[in-house]
Every structure is written in C-alpha cells, then in structure tokens.
Symmetry: C2
Subunit: 301 residues, 2 copies
Amino acid sequence: MAVIECVPNISEGRRGDVIDGIAEALRQVPGLAVLDVQSDAAHNRSVFTLAGDADALTRGVPLLFERSLAAIDLRTHKGEHPRMGAVDVVPFIPIEGVTMKECVELAKTIAADVAQRFSLPLFLYEEASSNPARKNLEDIRRGEFEGLAAKMSQAGWAPDFGPAQPHPSGGASVIGARMPLIAYNINLNTNRLDVAKKIATAIRMSSGGLRFVKAMGIPLEDRGIVQVSMNLTNYEKTPIFRVFDLVKREAERYGVSVLESEIVGLVPSAALQQCAEYYLQLEGFSGAQVLEQKLRTRREA
Amino acid sequence: MAVIECVPNISEGRRGDVIDGIAEALRQVPGLAVLDVQSDAAHNRSVFTLAGDADALTRGVPLLFERSLAAIDLRTHKGEHPRMGAVDVVPFIPIEGVTMKECVELAKTIAADVAQRFSLPLFLYEEASSNPARKNLEDIRRGEFEGLAAKMSQAGWAPDFGPAQPHPSGGASVIGARMPLIAYNINLNTNRLDVAKKIATAIRMSSGGLRFVKAMGIPLEDRGIVQVSMNLTNYEKTPIFRVFDLVKREAERYGVSVLESEIVGLVPSAALQQCAEYYLQLEGFSGAQVLEQKLRTRREA
C-alpha cells in the first residue's frame, strides 16, 4: 500500500465557503485523506495536506483544479504571498511504499490530464523538472500572474503541458515531486547570537555546508538562549543525526553545548528510524520489523 | 483506535487441519488481524500472533478456546515444551492507544467469560497477576498438566476463575498482560567469550543489572566474534538506548568496541522513537507528530 502526500496551495484564503467546498469535495474521493487545511487571509492562500495512493490522488487533484479554477479569478486577486495560478503549486511527496520516481510519474500524468481538461499551462518543478533553470519554484513564479503572459512568450518558458498562453483567470500552475521537509531546530546553552549564526553558516548548503540543509541563527529572547533554526529538505540524503552531530561539534568549538533539539510539525517515521539505526549501530534492520507497519500492511491487504 | 497484540500458545503443533481451522475461524472475526502462526512439531505447540482492539479480541479469543478445547486432549498429548492447558498461555500486550491497565482488565474479562463458558480453571499472570507467587508463567506451570490436579488441591493454587479442578482434557490456562518483548543483540569486535559473558552478567537483572534485561554471552563461531544476546522485557522502563550505552561502556573496560547491534523480529515503533528522542535530545516530541501515525488515526476515524 503506497502513501503519497500531496500539498496543493491555492490562491484563496478569505472565502470560507470556497475553501470548505473544495475540502468537502476532496473528502468524498475514496481512499483520499484530507489531513489538514490551513488558510491565511493576509496571504489570501490556502494549503491542503492530502494523502492517499496514486489512484486516489489521480481522482482528487483534478477535482481540486476544477473547483479552484471555477471559483478563483487572479485578475482581481490580491494577497501578500507571491502566486502565479489559481492553483499555484502542487507537490507530490513519497511517504511509504512508493519511490520518488513514481511520484514524478504521477505528477506528470496528472499535469498532462489537467492541462488538457482545463486548457491550463503546467510547469514541472523540483524532482519532476525537465530543466535545471526551472527546478526552483521561485524561478518559475518570478513575475507572478501579472507578468506571466510576457514571461511565457520568452524563449525557455513554454510550459511542460498545455497552451502557450496563460489561462485567462487561472494563470498557470506548478506541479512536481519533492521529499518531505522537516522543520528541525537545535537550542544552544548560550545567549551568544554570533555562535548560532556562525554554526548556521557552517552547516547550511548555501555557504558550504550539508547539501539539504537551510539554516539560520536566531535569538529566543524570552529564554535568553539562541537557536539554530533549520529546514531539512531531504532527510534520506542529509539525515537528522548527521545535522545534530555536526551542530554539536561546531558548538564545542565555541565552548557551547546543545541544550535540546525539536521537530516542528510532522516527521516521517523513517527519519526517526534512521536515527535509532545510526546511534544503536543497528545492522540489517528493515522498516518491515516495525510492528505498526506490519499491522498496517496486513490490514490494508 | 487501540491496538492490542495477543499471542495465544496452544498445545497442538502437528495436526495442520486443526491449526489451520483455528486460524481460519479467527480470520473471520471482524477487526481481528492474524499476523502470524508458528507451529513446532517437536514442541507440539503453535503460537498465534493476533492484533485488534478490545472488541475484536473479546470475540476472537473465546473462539480460540472453544476450538482448541474441542480438538486437543492433554491426556494423550506429547511434546518437548512444558504445557498445562490445551490453550496454554494467552498474553495481551499494549501496542498503541491503550494502557497496560486496560490490557489487564481485558485479560480478566475474557478469563471470567472463558472460565464460565467452558468450565475451565484460569490463572492470571504477569501484570494481571493478583499474587506475587503467581506472576511468572514458569511458577504457575511447574508440574505441568500431569501434576495439575495435585497442585490445584494445595493451598494457594486455587485458580483466579473457574472450577477448583482441572478440565479433564484441557487442563488449565494462564492468561494475563505484559509488555512487548524485544529480542536485541549486540555484537562485539572480539572473539573473547569471557568479555561477552562478563558484560551479560553486569547488565542483566538477575545478577544486579538493569531491571528489564535478560542477557547471556554467546560465541558467533562462523564470524569469530562474540555476542551479548538479550531479551528486553519492558522497553518503556529499560529503553534500548540505555542498554546499548551500558554495554558499550562495559566493553570499553576490556578495550573492546561494539561492532553492531541487531533487533530480531518485531519492535514497537515507540521503542525506536525513544532512541531518536534520546540521542537527538528532542524536547516536546510526541508520537502524534509521526506522519504515518497521523495518517492512520485519520483513516480509522
């Protein structure tokens, strides 16, 4: 039984009836779980967290496009968050019993279907991207809805699927596959912000550190301590334990110790198992040995 | 949604039709999963691994008693494994969303029901035990079926439920609640068996070590190394990481390092999460943050 997470972001965060209507329609799709819906009025944007297998998502995601395109008109849309489409971005995320490759295929299949059904341009991004210049969401979305027609007329900006011009009210959408993000913070037993900033610089990809780490040093004023605040963008290749051990080692350089760490929000079970395997030097361990996983597999067979 | 594991041991390991018939009957019980059936002809014994909530087990376990009592006659039963009943022992094990106390209550409820329905004496053991002298299975079963009538006539050996004499063909059964066992081994980078044995002695409860550890030192002849082979009988109170760290520290005393460790068979997800929390110094972490757990909760809601 495959579990794929899908986190569509739509350009509507104010009209509760529209957002609830879409959530309710998705809940009717067999096998599709609506785990969470977060709306932000200032951003005028909502984020749906869905989960299911490829079949459930193949049924549910086009429904989300249909409803969103019918209800949202970007020609009159205002909001703080950058956006290019009524359905702005749709990532597929492998969770269990499914490969990244399969998520990429799913993104492409759904993109082709949606582009054809709704005459909507679709751009592939992240792991599904066909072009290094179009891998990052920010690069694709630069210019937003208002600059989209001009951008799409430039060389290199034909969409991966659908018409060569924006959808009049729905713009264009970005769709693809990526690993789950883990929001991970390490608190240091010091109030020295310079230490947290130096550690963040040392460990993050952008300044020479680990490939799948974004990091910054921030103060936790009320506690009188500092934090290395991170996003881990691929826990399989840059595991939590390696980040923890490296931050701990760098902190020692300044005579500082690690007070504690924290995971904010959800984390895949495999990311925690990885830590147990590493620190316990576990050989030959498989996720199939986890009792709950065995139970789940049996029940759904 | 509660998940309780139940591992009944019955005194039949040879007649495939009897064993299959019982498994098939259990599979028909709504909500009950038959995860595994292991039969041993020399022991003349079978071990069923079941999982479900209290309702499913309240329906399934009496069915297992009914079928086993109808098919097994201990007056003619031979086998290497000690046994006292046609259904010999039935432990209930809390896995998820359920307390030990609830498993104890479930064991008592089912014991009372089964004792009444089948005129069978039932002894409570482990966490369900009402008497320290009757906590260990071995103490209750000593004398086996053949010595049961004499034993039950002694002071202190009246059953917890049911008649004061053995069931003519089915003897008596032991029922109760316990934590899941984890079979955990640590391999040492040495061929010195004395070191493995000294470490086993140092860390196991019986000779002064950790409360919920059984351990022995054994050679792995084909690899030319030694192993500290363990059963962890309560991972909540004696966690895997504490055992690992203590063995590692004891090994250093002899100039020996830990090569690797291994978990044999199934392990509850919480036992691995515990290790990640410990080594990463994770504060404020909850199992509800594990994505798969959230998914499972939603789906079954």
